[in-house]
Symmetry: C2
Subunit: 748 residues, 2 copies
């Protein structure tokens, strides 16, 4: 029999809990499971086990067996409580095998396995796999503690990467936060890509090995106190000093203080500093320089460099976003990254013609990372909220006669179904869109200036998609939080962290309103463009009469949906392109004024274009799958996504020209209802498909086993404030003596 | 001359700063100002002064004089920097006197004065008025520190209230957060109102004086780990024990743990506990009981009561939202609050027929408080973002030739104008709506069961308005934060706190989807209702053909706007009321199923009704003002509000039935542009009108003087992490030794 040891465990009520350990290889058959079940039943207690096969459920005694994790996993209970039973029942309703979908999401079974192994190893290093323990960050970490935590998981990620040679933890952390959350994250996501984009070959040969082996740790130092992603406005100067063959890096004003770069405060040894190149009083514009910030021996800041942390933020307090004031700091001439512009010893300046655009390349790469990974956090939030919604019972429907019906799980309510399954559909939509867009920019860091046209297209595509994706993620995560009611506001739900880490993505690497306008500007160009226009925007030159489409509209067919989305995008782009022209010719505005007048219109036009391309990616991805239950569930999600856009906050553009009418909307409402009826049984399986480990979710509400309330109370009792007060007779002494007692005694 | 002392001050760069003190009475004329100006010029340094007259601006040397605060106020600078000059110039463009609007907002000049005095006093007590000092809460408070901070300002509020006999700090804190942020806040907002609603006269005579003099501190103990605002689902029991004439309060399950009540952890001495009344095994439903939690002498929890804090939340960590587990806790029979239900010594139970509804009264009162005060936080966020937008220069418009034009202030961009001024318009809209609704529920705590009909109306009105107002506030605050770019993500911007404290309002005291449905249910009733229907919903019985309205639509007239909003509301309510009937008669669904099918429709119908009433309140309030510049600016804001709803995320309902068309939308876009052109010069004056003290905003971005960058750097250098690291050679030793050095050395 597989079980070879049992241990008591659990910090509270320990008499209720047991650990069942066993020899891994024996748990590989139905017979082994039965043996474990018997064993567990016999002890009538919670068991922990890690079988190699799928979970099952028997009669009254439950045993949940999780095959995903190559380690002991706490999912077994012979006396499952009500919430765990509800979760099991919901999971059992699935119409498809979530592992098939996992394989689609992560790129095949081997990739899934490698990813699981990486998470398992890092969770062991970080000691986050004990679900009975309140995660440290939900306790009482002050800022220093949070920063140390960031250094801790940052180092673990570096070690994992170097030892096992994979890139799982390059773009994300072990909690699926973006790399920004680690003090060393942007070393990989911005510093190294910037080197590849901006360094001349001999410079790259010197710096890249140092960076890739972490002998130096880099920050990407662009934004200033008074300047963000508008690179041309930067004020830091790099003045060439020919006698010494050096540049002098200097912060001439308060507002030129470098401000925000991740890791700049206390973690980075070097930085790529964007600064205005000054030669003989002439400003040649912003160029990249490598500046050593700290001694590699003891990390003391080098002379003339003031470094510090910028203080508490809404999130990402695990990283030392920092500031730097440079006071006449001298660096060698060869520290100008010289792939696209060079300064000779005599001060002669030479540059590629496309140089001014290429300095934006690093931001472009970073935007690609946001798009390529941000949806994972939306999927996490949807996972937490959907799982909570099957075990949380709250209220009844109106017109229910009270004594006769019990409270309903949240997922029984149509509003909850629609909100959360729409979020799930958006996570998939963004994933497929990111994949389609990926080919446009994945190779960018290795492209030279010969590819300027494709850079322009990649820039335009990615700008709008970045805005669309980050806003969809942030809004969705916040909506998921709201769907969890009060408990979603608790740190231990994991949702406040998800909100805090995603809400800023609308700002990072280019503010979304600005991003949409960059796409819009490209689209307007395409309306008037020539024959060599890219296929993705060719539809803008179609001249079909939109009115002709109207009688044929079937809002439920994915092909028709695509035509509807395309019609909206084409109409809005053309409408505002025309209005833009008219404001100049008719009203005599200059182009900048005319653009400002129609700015909101351009933003909505770009949004419509991006949404069309997102739907297109989703529809195409579904079409490429083999017929079967997994394809069917994705097809339903795709329909829900499309109809959700039509009846959503940006839906007006489908209707105001009469292309769609109330009858279509009514059909959409009925269709959404049917889709939801079909998708609700798959809700838990959809969360399982994303394959998030419980430790990566770090959520008392979202764990795989559904044991929400007991876990919440176990974690609550571990809150450090409670532990401290318990030692002083359960009275919070400092507060009572100084504040409460004087109030009670009227001594104010 | 008025100046009688100067002091150096400021924690950094102290040589640059001076304090000018003076005898208050001398600064009351233009001559005094000139004298101060001369004095300041003479010293060429920053001055702090508090004159009794309005601010002025002279030539190159600026002196900003703020008449609002009865204390020294740091707004003067003879060497104004660029940001301060931009702020002064923007302020000088106003078309109206902001003090007139202040008077409208706060209810007359006397009320303004009293409010200012209260803020000045409490800011002195809390030592928050020094703008050179990083506010403590943006430094490094751990949870204990945050809780102590809450007790600190909570006690100050109690003292201020008892000493000066006003209610300024009953619904809000000195930062305009809602009372929930103070450990003693709900004592006034829920405990005392619940007493008034639920206690029998002799009980009230006993408990109310104790509560009002703070001899006891109360919590309102309703929600449980497994149950929220659905009161009927609560599981805590209160079992009558006739021999001892006692009730036994007990938590029978994990999920019945009382969870969330503010102050319950460590601050409250007593609680009103909602529990199921059990007499001889019969459950009479949920009733209110007064339970003493802690000894009034030493605050030790009484036997059988486990109390604790629920841990970190997304916000409100200054308050000890707590949990309580009751184990057979005995209380006297007379502790059942017996206004609406009584238990005789022999166990005989008597109750008013309307009792089951009346237990909701306390939540109703709390909802009223959210509606009546929540918009202040939206106005704060708009204030911070608008002020920042006039001094922050960032980028140029597309098609601007670069060398020729400098960067533009954010408020030059149409998108920024539209987003932020729309938020400002919404703050006013919610303010006027709250006033109109106020009469419907203000007197509720004193109403008895004789007023059941008006309670139903108040409940229906307030439920939807609560949902509308809290969502508008939370979305708006988040949008304002995004409008501030990266800096809006910094704690010291004040915006993350505003986001965290408002986002939860959608959940508190009734989840918004549920709230809208309660309004919808009432509206559906009204469609079929009789002659005694309330005036506010009478329009639902109009039978005018909506199509007849169409040719007459003038989207720019406020009367027409009201008709457009009313049409949408009427159409949607009737459409879903019909669909609801049809689902029953045609599809054979029971009412609960039919409701669930059309739930999203009912939510949108209720939203449309509420939005109509909000616009109605705004339009009526503007009409009642005297003609003049102040009325004109409010009229413009009202227009912006209305057009923003039409072209906003819920605008589809105006268009899908063809009532409005693309031509209307185009007219609206032009009109919005004109309104914005007129409102932008008033932007800073609109922020001044709200009269928020700098200390209450606690924002490095939103201060009155516009000195953003210098203040940010001053505050950043005070970040405790930086101060600590400065002592160890500017190296973060623990992080370097344990994490960074091993990485650099390849020792992983």
């Amino acid at each position: 029999m597989g079980v070879n040891r049992i241990d008591r465990c659990g910090p509270q009520n320990s008499s209720d809990y047991f650990t069942v350990q066993y020899q891994k290889q024996t748990i590989n058959s139905f017979e082994s499971l039965i043996r474990i079940q018997d064993f567990v039943h016999q002890h009538a207690a919670l068991a922990r086990c890690q079988p190699q096969t799928h979970w099952r459920m028997w009669k009254e005694g439950y045993i949940n067996l999780e095959r995903r994790w190559d380690r002991v996993f706490p999912v077994c209970c012979s006396m499952a409580n009500r919430q765990m039973r509800l979760m099991n029942e919901a999971r059992a309703r699935a119409s498809f095998d979530p592992r098939e979908l996992t394989s689609i999401i992560f790129g095949g079974p081997e990739a899934v396995k490698a990813c699981e192994a990486a998470f398992t190893r890092i969770e062991q290093v970080l000691r986050t796999s004990d679900l009975d323990k309140l995660p440290d960050t939900y306790g009482d970490l002050d800022r220093t503690g949070q920063f140390l935590d960031g250094l801790h998981f940052g180092k673990a990620m570096v070690a994992e990467k170097l030892k096992h040679g994979h890139s799982v933890f390059e773009p994300i952390t072990p909690r699926y936060w973006l790399a920004n959350a680690s003090p060393f994250g942007l070393h990989v996501v911005m510093f190294i890509p910037a080197l590849k984009l901006l360094a001349a070959p001999e410079q790259l040969a010197y710096w890249l090995p140092l960076a890739e082996s972490y002998k130096i740790i880099g920050a990407y130092c662009q934004t200033e106190l008074g300047h963000g992603s508008f690179i041309r406005g930067l004020q830091t100067t790099a003045t060439f000093d020919p006698p010494n063959d050096e540049f002098i890096i200097h912060s001439p004003t308060t507002s030129s203080t470098k401000y925000w770069p991740a890791g700049l405060g206390y973690s980075a040894s070097h930085a790529i500093v964007m600064a205005c190149l000054i030669i003989e009083n002439r400003n040649h514009g912003v160029h990249p320089f490598i500046v050593q910030l700290r001694s590699l021996e003891d990390y003391t800041p080098l002379p003339g460099i003031e470094l510090g942390d910028i203080g508490l933020k809404a999130g990402y307090n695990s990283v030392d976003n920092g500031y730097a004031v440079f006071t006449h700091v001298r660096i060698p001439r060869k520290h100008l990254l010289a792939r696209h512009a060079q300064v000779a010893p005599d001060g002669t300046y030479t540059a590629d013609s496309s140089r001014p655009k290429l300095v934006y390349g690093t931001m472009l790469f970073a935007r690609g990372q946001l798009v390529a990974n941000g949806y994972l956090q939306l999927a996490q939030a949807a996972t937490i909220a959907l799982r909570y919604s099957v075990v949380r019972e709250q209220g009844t429907l109106p017109f229910t006669s009270i004594p006769e019906v019990a409270e309903l799980p949240l997922l029984a309510f149509r509003a909850q179904q629609q909100r959360l399954l729409t979020l799930m559909s958006r996570a998939f939509a963004l994933m497929f869109a990111a994949r389609s867009a990926g080919s446009a920019y994945a190779a960018l860091p290795d492209q030279g200036h010969t590819e300027y046209r494709s850079l322009e297209l990649a820039h335009a595509t990615l700008a709008g998609l970045k805005a669309y994706a980050t806003q969809t993620v942030a809004d969705g995560v916040e909506d998921a939080r709201k769907c969890c009611g009060g408990h979603g506001y608790l740190a231990m739900s994991g949702l406040p962290d998800l909100v805090a880490t995603t809400t800023v993505l609308a700002t990072l690497e280019g503010e979304n309103c600005v991003m949409y306008q960059q796409t819009a500007r490209f689209l307007v160009k395409c309306v008037h463009g020539g024959a060599d226009i890219d296929a993705t925007v060719a539809y803008l030159q179609d001249s079909a009469d939109p009115e002709l489409l109207r009688p044929a509209v079937d809002i439920l067919d994915s092909g028709e949906q695509l035509r509807i989305f395309r019609h909206r995008a084409m109409r809005l782009v053309k409408e505002y392109a025309q209005a833009f022209s008219a404001s100049q010719t008719r009203d005599g505005l200059n182009p900048a004024q005319a653009w400002n007048t129609h700015m909101m219109g351009f933003i909505s036009a770009a949004h419509a274009h991006v949404e069309y391309t997102v739907l297109q990616s989703f529809v195409e991805a579904v079409h490429q799958l083999d017929t079967g239950p997994t394809r069917l569930v994705l097809q339903r999600l795709c329909g829900l996504f499309a109809l959700g856009c039509i009846d959503g906050p940006h839906g007006l553009g489908f209707f105001d020209d009469g292309h769609l009418r109330a009858t279509h909307l009514r059909r959409a409402h009925v269709a959404v209802g049917e889709l939801l009826d079909n998708l609700v049984p798959d809700a838990v399986a959809l969360t399982d498909a994303w394959n998030f480990s419980d430790a990566s979710l770090a959520s008392a509400l979202g764990c795989w086993d559904g044991n929400v309330y007991e876990r919440m109370m176990r974690w609550t009792r571990q809150v450090p404030l409670n532990a401290a007060v318990a030692k002083t007779g359960n009275v919070f002494r400092p507060g009572f003596e100084e504040f409460i007692r004087p109030i009670l005694k009227g001594k104010l």
